[in-house]
Symmetry: C2
Subunit: 104 residues, 2 copies
DNA sequence: TTGACATAACACCAAATGGTGTCATATATT
DNA sequence: AATATATGACACCATTTGGTGTTATGTCAA
C-alpha cells in the first residue's frame, strides 16, 4: 500500500487490525491461521499485517513455509503518552468543570 | 464526508485532528481562528471538525455569526480502556519476556 | 516426484480521505 | 445602506484504503 509509512494511530484506527492485535496477544500465528479468524480474504489480511508491521506493532518471521506473526506492543506507548495529556479532563469531574469555565 | 459514522479511533488517526484537539484543550475557538493555526483551507478544517464531532470529541455552538468549538474529551476513555489490555505487556519487562516465551 | 499447502506478487476496483476552489447566506460594523 | 466577516454548502480532484481475484513460487509430506 504505497510508500507511505503508517504510524501507530493509523494502524489502530481499523477495527479489523485491532482484532488482529488481540488475536496475536494470545498466541503467535501464521498468516493462514490469522485469516481463518476473519471473514475477509488472505490478501486483505496480509495488507493489514503490512500496515501493522510498518507501525512496528507486529513482526513476522519466516519459519519453513510459514510466516509467523508476533505481537510487538511497545509502540502503543506513544498512544498512551498522547492520551495522558487528556486524562486531567476526565479523571476528575471537578477539574473538567473548572476547565470548561475558565478556558474562555 | 459520507454517511459513515466515524469512531474515536478513526478520529484521532489523523495528526491534524490531534493538533486540533490540542488547540481546543487550551481555549474554545471559532472555525476561523482554528483555521488560522493550520496551513490548510477552512473547508478542510470544517471537514476535520465534522469527523471530530461525529466521534463526540468536540462540540460546536453557534454564537452570533461564529461557531465556537469546544473540546469534549470523554470519548477518549474508550481508547484508554482499549489500551489498558496491552499495558500488561510493556509495564513490566519481565512480564513481557515471560509472555513472549510462553505464548507459543 | 507428485501433490498439497503457505505465501508472495500482481492487477484491479469501489469507496473513503484529505484536500482544493467557488458561491450563497447570515451577521456585524461603519 | 454598504461593506466586511464567518460560516454553510457545493462540486471537483488525486490518492489512499480496504477489499477482490489470479498466478507464480517455495516447501513439506506421502
Amino acid at each position: 500500500m504505497g510508500a507511505v509509512k503508517h504510524d501507530v494511530f493509523q494502524a489502530i484506527a481499523d477495527p479489523t487490525r485491532r482484532a488482529m492485535l488481540q488475536l496475536l496477544a494470545n498466541k503467535n500465528l501464521p498468516i493462514s491461521e490469522i485469516t481463518a479468524h476473519f471473514p475477509i480474504s488472505r490478501t486483505a489480511i496480509v495488507k493489514h499485517l503490512h500496515i501493522l508491521s510498518e507501525a512496528q506493532l507486529v513482526q513476522g518471521t519466516k519459519v519453513g513455509r510459514e510466516k509467523i506473526y508476533q505481537l510487538h506492543p511497545e509502540p502503543l506507548v506513544e498512544v498512551k503518552d498522547w492520551l495522558s495529556f487528556y486524562e486531567q479532563f476526565w479523571s476528575n469531574k471537578l477539574a473538567l468543570l473548572k476547565y470548561q469555565m475558565e478556558k474562555d
